[in-house]
């Protein structure tokens, strides 16, 4: 078997495996295009008989999706902004020094990273309600998400800063820059791509966040799309084509961003988790 045949065979097997793995996604999309009765056909059809595109408009209107997605965006952007402001500087310093204090800081950060949200929500909710923070539920959720996701961001961005040669910053200092000047004009631009990818990962996490929003935000007008999806799925629901349409409209933007920036996202992710 020569090289080309082997390559083609491997590629074919790989595509089949990817198709099997991604079948749930296909099933989501195909269900949205089925009519109410076709959804429950036995045997199920793997291709819609007559695609029902109007399902999307119907679900968008009837479930008020614009409002839910807007709230998700507010929460996601707010979390990313807060995390970036606090996390970038911290990651920069932790990348710049190698000593016992940095090890202690990293250890603390890694330990705080692992606390499950569903276990932390009890003290956070009680504390927030005592401070009156529940009056501003979306802000409360943003703060809670920031506390949860910032360690991950710091670890990722720190890996980026480590790859910026320290000599460049030293040269800028010799040329008369202050530390702040060197940070903003030399180090930050060089680390920009890594920071953007990390921020994107945080954004995608916060966009799908559920536990905090579900517990803290009581008013339906302020809830994000994840909570909206949860309340759409009753225990005995039978509008699966509508639910899948909701899920499709919620998740497709994320999937599109991911597929476009896949290489960067994957390399950014792996640099943080293992290195």
């Amino acid at each position: 078997m020569n090289g080309t045949t082997r390559d083609r065979l491997m590629l074919a097997i790989a595509i089949v495996m990817a198709a099997i793995y991604l079948f749930p996604l296909y099933w989501m999309y195909v269900t949205t295009l089925k009519s109410g009765s076709e959804v429950f056909a036995t045997p199920p059809s793997f291709w819609p008989a007559s695609p029902q595109w109007s399902t999307y408009a119907f679900v968008w209107e009837s479930r008020n999706m614009g409002r839910y997605l807007w709230n998700s965006l507010v929460i996601a952007f707010g979390s990313v902004a807060l995390i970036s402001v606090l996390g970038v500087g911290c990651a920069y310093v932790l990348a710049r020094y190698r000593n016992a204090w940095v090890d202690v800081g990293l250890f603390l950060i890694l330990m705080l990273q692992v606390l499950p949200a569903s276990l932390m929500i009890t003290p956070i909710f009680v504390g927030f309600s005592q401070l009156g923070m529940l009056e501003y539920p979306r802000l409360a959720v943003i703060i809670a998400i920031a506390a949860k996701s910032m360690p991950f961001f710091v670890v990722l961005v720190r890996a980026t800063f480590m790859s910026v040669p320290q000599e460049l910053e030293e040269a800028a200092l010799v040329d008369g820059n202050s530390r702040i000047g060197a940070f903003f004009s030399i180090v930050l631009p060089l680390a920009r791509n890594g920071i953007l990818v990390s921020a994107l990962l945080i954004f995608m996490q916060a966009f799908g966040e559920f536990v905090y929003s579900k517990s803290i935000i009581q008013a339906a007008e302020l809830q994000p799309a994840s909570v909206g999806l949860n309340s759409f799925m009753g225990p005995n629901t039978n509008e699966w084509n509508n639910i899948m349409a909701y899920a499709t409209m919620y998740v497709t933007p994320i999937l599109a961003i991911f597929v476009l920036l896949q290489r960067r996202i994957v390399s950014g992710l792996t640099s943080g988790a293992l290195k």
């Binding site: 749930p24 603390l108 692992v114 949200a117 569903s118 009890t122 799908g208 991911f258």
Partner: protein, 300 residues
């Protein structure tokens, strides 16, 4: 004052200020709740005492009550099954895929990255899709299993107490496999190729090469990934909310969902805090294993 200012601008003060802001926020918003959680687990906290700080201390009563409850041990057992089942499935399938994609062929890295969509999707959406796939009468999984002759009658994944926990495990394996695979791929690509050439010259077959080179060289990566899998599995909440809600009758309930249920469904915040404290101890142990196995890499 002047020296403090110039240190902020030019020296160590600048660095310390940057770290102090971030760590201060983290300690305030994660560290303090952690302590508060322990305090609440010794108190009686319900809807009425929620707003006040002077709540009755009850000593160890929450803990004693917790372990006297009939559902506690089944839920702990469920958590164990969920963790072991999810990690085993994610790791084994992920390792298999990583080994396959390790063979270099055109398009391999792009296709491999594509698998990660399962991991970037919101957990609620993954749960909704699997809820539909696992549906009893009209679910496509039952259809496929019937057609291939693996089952005779439909399995009611979500409502049959014998299967509901496994319904969530299946969804969680799907969700986490890709992440395992990507990290294992990174580990595999770090093994120097000449080790294999040398082994091949010595006449080692593929099986022997796997056991004597691949596995030993991957030891720290595997340790980190299993610890990370444990951490992620114990964080999994969305799938329970979307597929079974812990039901029927707690058959698929696990501690991280139960803690939330106690607080936000039964409004027994003291009990919820107690379950949380018990679980956080476990998570911390897993985190220490993870930090240890990546430590040399963290210091870089």
């Amino acid at each position: 004052m002047k020296s403090l200012f110039s240190s902020m601008r030019d020296g160590l003060g600048f660095d310390i200020a940057l770290v102090a802001f971030a760590l201060g926020f983290l300690l305030l918003m994660s560290g303090l709740p952690l302590v508060y959680n322990v305090v609440m687990s010794f108190q009686e906290v319900d809807m009425f005492s929620l707003g006040t700080f002077s709540r009755p201390f009850v000593g160890l009563r929450n803990y004693i009550d917790l372990f006297a409850q009939p559902e506690t041990y089944p839920i702990l057992l469920n958590t164990l099954i969920f963790v072991v089942g999810s990690i085993a499935g994610q790791f084994l399938i992920g390792f298999g895929l990583a080994l396959f994609f390790w063979v270099n062929f055109p398009g391999a890295s792009w296709l491999r990255g594509l698998f990660l969509v399962s991991w970037v999707m919101p957990g609620l959406v993954v749960g909704a899709i699997w809820n539909w796939i696992l549906s009893g009468d009209f679910g496509v999984l039952n259809f496929i299993l019937r057609e291939t002759g693996l089952i005779d009658a439909n399995i009611f994944w979500r409502s049959d107490p014998d299967y509901s926990l496994y319904a969530v495990i299946i969804a969680n394996i799907w969700l986490g496999t890709s992440f395992n695979m990507i990290l294992l791929s990174v580990g595999l690509s770090g093994i120097p190729g000449d080790l294999y050439e040398a082994a091949e010259l010595d006449g080692a077959n593929a099986w022997q090469r796997f056991w004597t080179i691949t596995l030993p060289m991957m030891r720290s990566t595997i340790g980190a990934i299993i610890a990370l899998g444990l951490i992620f599995t114990l964080q999994q909440f969305d799938l329970f909310a979307a597929i079974t809600s812990g039901g029927p009758n707690n058959a698929s309930n696990v501690t991280q969902y139960w803690a939330w249920e106690l607080s936000f469904r039964q409004y027994d915040f003291g009990k919820g805090a107690t379950v949380s404290v018990v679980m956080i101890v476990f998570v911390m142990i897993a985190a220490m294993v993870y930090v240890r196995s990546t430590r040399h890499e963290v210091r870089g």
